[in-house]
Subunit: 319 residues, 5 copies
């Protein structure tokens, strides 16, 4: 075990050995094993956006097996997905790859201003499927936020009693917020804090923009002259908001973008002290070879092997 892994585990001494052991497994797995940095492959888009939008750009990805293999070949720390996808490969991969069972999911067939995902799996499922953690999405800003907070509280108590760490996807959304507010720097900071206060072991948020949603917070940022101009500045603020860096905080890649944009974003996250990325569409919507090269490059960025990282053109055609 490296000193960095030891240091990170020292923030989780309130958890039982089972939770800490699974955190350790995730941190020691894959290309970034031992660095305390994370790249995770999440594939919940089949549920969240529908299969055609998600998998048609790269048809092999219709196959659940594809994603386990992608995660293994690229050497990500873990693979996260809803019940059905995890079920389809757990018996072959759970011993080789840390799996994260996402316990709630939303589809986009019903809109509504105040989203609330359905609970689609259980802690029992996660144990029976050999998972290393559970995942859960909350939508701060939704009129239904309390329902999600209370669900995750109960599932967290149960999961941790069974030695499973908890990953919270904290995505501000709902009638309490403007559209821009969903990624506003103050709101992302707030979302990170809420997830930590709810007892998350790993928190996932979106990269924050320079926009500020709440007037009183704007005044504080201005008064205290807090720099928010660059992505690194903003990531630094989110890291502080996640218990001053004492919780593992990772960032989603968001919608598919060019490889250069992605690399730049990851460098920003890294320089601001972020722990890594969770990259879905940007990986599985490319041909597998290309995705593996790209994920390798991202991991090298996080590992501080930037110089040796293949330039975007070497990865292949950017989409």
């Amino acid at each position: 075990m490296t000193n960095r892994v030891r240091e990170i585990l020292s923030w989780y001494t309130h958890e039982n050995p089972g939770v800490r052991a699974n955190l350790m497994r995730i941190m020691n797995h894959g290309r970034l094993g031992g660095t305390g940095r994370f790249v995770i492959l999440p594939v919940d888009q089949g549920f969240e956006h529908g299969p055609l939008r998600s998998f048609a750009p790269n048809p092999p990805s219709y196959d659940p097996d594809y994603h386990f293999q992608l995660a293994l070949e690229a050497g990500t720390n873990a693979y996260a997905a809803p019940l059905g996808f995890i079920q389809s490969g757990a018996d072959r991969y759970a011993g080789e790859l840390p799996l994260i069972l996402k316990l709630n999911n939303s589809d986009t067939l019903y809109g509504g201003d105040d989203p609330c995902p359905a609970v689609t799996g259980s802690v029992r499922d996660a144990l029976a499927l050999g998972c290393a953690a559970i995942g859960f999405t909350i939508y701060p800003g939704s009129a239904l936020r309390n329902e999600m907070y209370e669900e995750v509280r109960e599932l967290t108590e149960e999961a941790k009693a069974c030695g499973l760490p908890v990953v919270i996807w904290s995505y501000p959304r709902g009638s309490g917020l403007s559209k821009d507010g969903e990624t506003a720097v103050d709101i992302i900071c707030y979302a990170a804090q809420i997830a930590c206060q709810l007892g998350a072991n790993i928190v996932k948020v979106k990269p924050p923009t320079e926009y500020i949603e709440q007037e009183p917070t704007k005044k504080v940022i201005e008064k205290e002259r807090i720099p928010i101009a660059t992505l690194s500045d903003r990531v630094r603020l989110v890291v502080k908001s996640a218990f001053n860096g004492r919780r593992i905080l990772i960032f989603s890649g968001g919608p598919a973008k060019t490889i250069d944009e992605l690399f730049t974003e990851c460098r920003g996250i890294r320089d601001g002290g972020g722990f890594g990325s969770i990259i879905g569409r940007n990986s599985f919507q490319r041909p597998k070879d290309e995705a593996v090269r790209m994920l390798t490059a991202v991991m090298d960025i996080y590992a501080g092997k930037e110089a040796k990282a293949p330039a975007a053109e070497k990865v292949g055609s950017a989409r």
Copy 2:
């Protein structure tokens, strides 16, 4: 054990020895130990107002450890916070400092006229984290008040059976009240009474203003010529409303203010028979040295060592 502590405990003979022992621990801890007066450090603002507004004015306060240390160094009776903050230090501090786990919390990302916090922790959490009490917020005046009253009733039954006392934050708020009504003297008295009737061992309210919200109460106040001109007058009335002074009643400090204003407020609370203050933003939004000096001075005011209390200017620059 002092006579005053013994006297206060004599009001709680309906509670089991475990509840009384924890009340005793809180009363015997810190600089005010044995006086029957209280200063408690609460830090739920990361959840309630967001991390930037709360912690940016004093960046070391982003770190959860900071608050445990502040409470210990200043010698407050206890430290109250939501699950995540308590988790982050419980294994090192729970044996040295009475901790209060706040079991419900609201964020300000979704507004709405009728607030209702989410339940974000459990009695099991409080026990496993070594806490000395649980805390819970109710919003009398909200359309959702009954939900909160019934939640706190159930949690109270469970907590007390396990020897944990119950602290209720009773904050009138919601569509049943005007904005001024939230701190109106009649409404604060009412809020204190409701918390006591629900079985609270310690009640926390805001300092009342001279405003009167309800017409029938206004008539009674006028007819009976009840003095409400000074803060002490009004505190006296709230103390009476808390079972004629037979429940521990403490007051929140509210938004950051000058040190002189705070001291004046504390003297008013003391002179009206209030048991003490729960001071969050006014303490952790200052540099720690300054906060410790200020809290010390406040405790000296409550302990009746006013003369020796450092004048505001000695504490340092008020924010």
Copy 3:
């Protein structure tokens, strides 16, 4: 045991000995012990109307102990109050005075057209506090009535299994009724019947007025020439509605009034066959001596010792 008590108990042979024993204790306690008549002291106004409106007219009544002592000194059959008030004296008084724990309560900080009290105590609480019965309020006429009916049904099942009788406060109120309808004679009769049908052992209603709310009922009253002109006439009708007099039916005193008005009302209730009164504000908002004299006089009216009852002027200055 008197014949009258035996007769009343003969209506409750469907209840277990524990329920009947507690009914017996209530009937055998105090100045009216053995007469089958009741005067009960209820003090839930601190919760229902707020402490200032309730207790400021007689400041010693802020103290929870005051009410236990008032009930003991006056010799009422029982004392009814919410959780907090009962807790504050149960360990000293529960062995000397039958206590009734009111298990639900409303405050008046949030209005709304369709009231519904919060459940603020449990049957376990009532047992642990040594109570002789539980109390519960229903609001027939409220859109939320079914919630209350179903809550009281469940609590009744649990309470009676533990030997605790059930007192239902049946107060028509809500968007289904006009303001006058709340005390209309047909509605009060209806409210009494509903409480009996829900399994109440003791029913409490307000004294009915001559007003008739529902047209079809009005036609029947007119057609059958049912007399409703005097309070006694109307009480007689309510008594019939409470299973033809086979359930204990008592009447609330309502807002503070002159002593003469109260005595006249009690005579009307007595002459119509009502079982007694539950007198809150009219007793605890007077100085204790005066209240004891007044309650004594009321009890003498019910006991048929009218001639010896002190005239109003002897009781002292009416408020």
Copy 4:
């Protein structure tokens, strides 16, 4: 409430108000009400010794009603019996007389060296029957003692949560002891201590003889020159063994004897600081008038009204 009752209750501050209220009811009931002394009528002999041996000497005592009436007429503090006897009168007497439901009983149809009673009732029964306490017999010295200790522990937890005090009959018996040892002074002291350690509120033992069963204890008694010559000496030692007099300790009357013997025994118990007697066969095996006179005399002995007590000859013919 007398000062003595208050003093006794001060030893039970670890119990909830319900338990204390029922203790208070028992202490305030009957001829000895308020004195802190006890005479209780127990009738479990129908189960323990069979009906003919028990009731044939006074045939009206076959009728369960007889015993309720005897207890009421004599003014004992309470009446204790197994399920069937309590059921037969609870609905008429539970409101007038504190009842103690004995939750376990042995018959003498099966012998065996190591007795263990059957659990024949439940806490639910006691509540539904309106009882003021539960009773339980343990046989220290039996090979099956642990079964009894663990049963009473569970029943005690349940009973006290429901506000019911616990009376333990602690009768040394079984293959671990000699026949003389069953009433040996050291063993009776031991039996009292065990009942107290198990959480009994009231302990019942047999009057101790001068015999000493255990060799090491004999040495201590001799070395410390502890007087055990008179019954008062020995009772004093048993009282000390019951938490230095801080638990209510009463003595059984044992097999029928002459009235003079009984009075002498009661004086000895009283002078040694015992709290009273539980007198079964000596009362219900006499004609009722005689029994009432005799119980009255015993109560007068305990109340310190010895001079006024009728001499044995006045009570009537001793059996």
Copy 5:
């Protein structure tokens, strides 16, 4: 918090913060607070040996209060006793002194070759009484050992989930062992190991003699030339057997002896690396002043302040 306390806590990182907080409270309490050494007052002899043998040598010790006061005055780390004794003072002392509720107990009224204590308390009791830990006795060597091992396993799971550490009294006894074997060095080592393997946080054994019970172990000791001549040698071996010193291991004082013998024994335990003593009869069977002086001297021995320790003659007359 001292470095030694921190070091000891580092062996218990598998426990939740509540368990560690209570261990910390015990380690930080009293005269040895912060040293990582322990002296605990246990008083279960009233149950285990009977009240006369236990308390007659020092009659004030009949009173349960006496022991709380002795523990407080002497400044022991904790006070351990069965349910009844803890109940009798918990509401006054639990806030001032760490209490350990012993959840099983044996009496000596029934002999038998294979002892097994009765479970006489519950984790709920410990919580409601404000205790800092539970205690449990096992008898390795008894035919009934598995019953005890399985009981303590279940209670341990429940207690730790509620934040309560577990103290195991591990006393080899029963038909599997010779009388000398009960304190044989190999058996005591074995008993310590079993308690640790069962999850104990604190283990209590008797001081080992030079005798070796089991032949195969004797051969190993001889072959490996393991020194067992002095008490320190043997204690060192027991400490190694308790997970190489990584579990808190304390030694019982056994039957009353001279003060010099006791001091010599404590020095032996200290020099062998034992963590301290649990001293019952040797303390409460002396006059309180003398006991306090003796316990002070013992604590000074453990604290390494030997020079300043009063010689035996200063303590007073040894019994």
